[in-house]
Amino acid sequence: MSRRLSRRDLLKLGAGLAVAGVLGCEGEEAATPTPGTPSAGQAPSGPPVKVGVLVPTSGVYTALGRDMLNGYNLYFQQVNFTAGGRRIELITEDETGDANTALTRARKLIEADRVEVFTGVVSTAAVYAMRDLLHQSRTLSIITNAGGNDLTRGRKSPYIFRTSFTSWQVSFPLGKWVADNLTKRVAIMYADYGFGQESQAAFRESFTAAGGQVLDAIPYPLGNSDFSSVIDRIRAARPDAVYGFASGSDAVLFLRQFAQAGLRGRIPLAVTGFMVEQDVLQSVGRDALDAYSSLHWAVTLDNPTNRRFVEEYRRRYNEFPSVFTMQAYDGARVIVEVLNAVNGDTSDPDRLVRAAEAVRFDSPRGLFEFDPVTHNVIQNVYLRQVRDQGGQVVNVVVTDLGRIRDPG
């Protein structure tokens, strides 16, 4: 029995040591200018503004964390790590894949490092775990991924803003589009955890309201590696399309196995955008072709801000940015705009909140603004399709599903 007991401890130990390893090589990855030393030419005054960045640099979300760090750095470098007359100093911590560890790290950033602005967080479980800490410490918090509905509904806080999405916001518009344009008979497959359940519920809500019929709904355990039984149930339901929610390696495996089973091209996929985002596409490639999805951005979205964003990112990192990069990039911009609005004076949390509420700008995703009631972003959601564009497998925007505001 000692083996089973030790696994948890081993994993924790493992996570801990992995963090140590990551922190060791932080310098070369983040490549931020040395904090506290003003660069030549600029003359920011006073001590630097401490911005705590909490993103995973170990565990299952490692790739997302890296994308987000790249996004922060890309934007902060455009403003030379300066805003409101002060230098910006980033203090990065590893969120890991574990909500409790994430909470400990957030507490360290807020209580030991005394950061003036907090940002990041991939996992919804982690953000729920630290919600009270952020709220009670009155720290301006710009959440750049975690999309659980409740963070800007029942558990909303004046100090918490979200530049990313709610699960409802991304998946609700897709249901109506599928019912109106694709078919009224779908099977649903989704990862059986909070975000997956919320996503499929949002899809189902607008899909059935538009006359659609759900033939079967198939949950699968998160971190699954064999989707044959899910695929068998889909086949047995004889749907005209499949709605899906999975992300990361689950999404990769499902798409691979769906294609291996010969169903790609026979049963269209209409999925929540994360299931076919860049991190998945670069791994799955052509096995994801033709899949429809809804998301608040696409790498091919045609507007000047996005073209510049994608071009600069590709020049610097030699790959396509992902939606996670974009959310962090916008998060960095929100922080800079707030600091500019208060002239670098971060002493009054409520003044920071008012400044954040007023932020509006042209984002790579289109017009960016916060809902004054929920502090969640109001944004357009796009219907996209995975296509081969000159040898690159990318999401192409098919239509704009309109401006979507989470009901709160």
Partner: protein
Amino acid sequence: MQYVSALFNGLSYGMLLFLLGAGLSLVFGVGRFINLAHGGLFIIGGYVGFTVLNELGNFWLGILIGPMVGGALGLAADLLVLRRLHGHGRELDQVLVTFGLALIIADATRAGWGGDIRSVGAPAPFDRPIEIGDFSYPAYPLVIIGVGLLVFGLLWLLLQRTRVGAMIRAAAGDPQMAQVLGVPTAPVLRLTFALGVALAALGGVVALPRQALAPGRDFEMLLLALVVVVIGGLGRIEGAFWAALLVGLTDSYGKLFFPEFTVAMIFGLLALVLIWRPEGLLGRRAV
């Protein structure tokens, strides 16, 4: 039809677990050696296979090269470090050191291949489904089943019909007596260890078209390997074989009937076996 697919799914998953568990079980049986870096060797096999496929464009070459790299790493690890830890009563040292190795592997693979998800398609001609009338099933899992059966057969022949196999069995049965009778237990153990990790690496390559490589996969696989070894009984490859199939089938039928409880069912199975036969299904009773 779903029941038939679930059967094949369970068998192919079971065969993967067998490749993983057989090595762990052998090493433990022969040397009473606990190797927590086993999951790490599995993903090293996977990453090597991935690189071979990308550079040389041939998946089957990866199936050859992956286990060779794994075996060589196993030999090196044993010569450099692990041989100092052999012997009775040093389990804690072994756990600490091999877990350290597992962490090094986790970091090294992330440094080398990044944290991105890596996966490959099934190699031709197994990249499309087999269709019989209305029934259709992907071809690649059948390849996994074939590889698993082949390895089981070869291992059985090796252990039962060759001199080396006899030595391995002797060393597993009673290391002291074997040594007294002239069996060179240290080299035998080293060979077994290399063979065991080569099998894990083979599992990693074979699994590639069905599983994706991502950070954390190594520890997931280690856990499953431990489950297989505990259920099957330590030190018997037949035990690992049947236990792996049992876990594979539990997983696939569990997903069919109770998708919400699949993970719990595997551990429920483990708990039942521990209550009913603490030494494992085919294990010997501890002396």
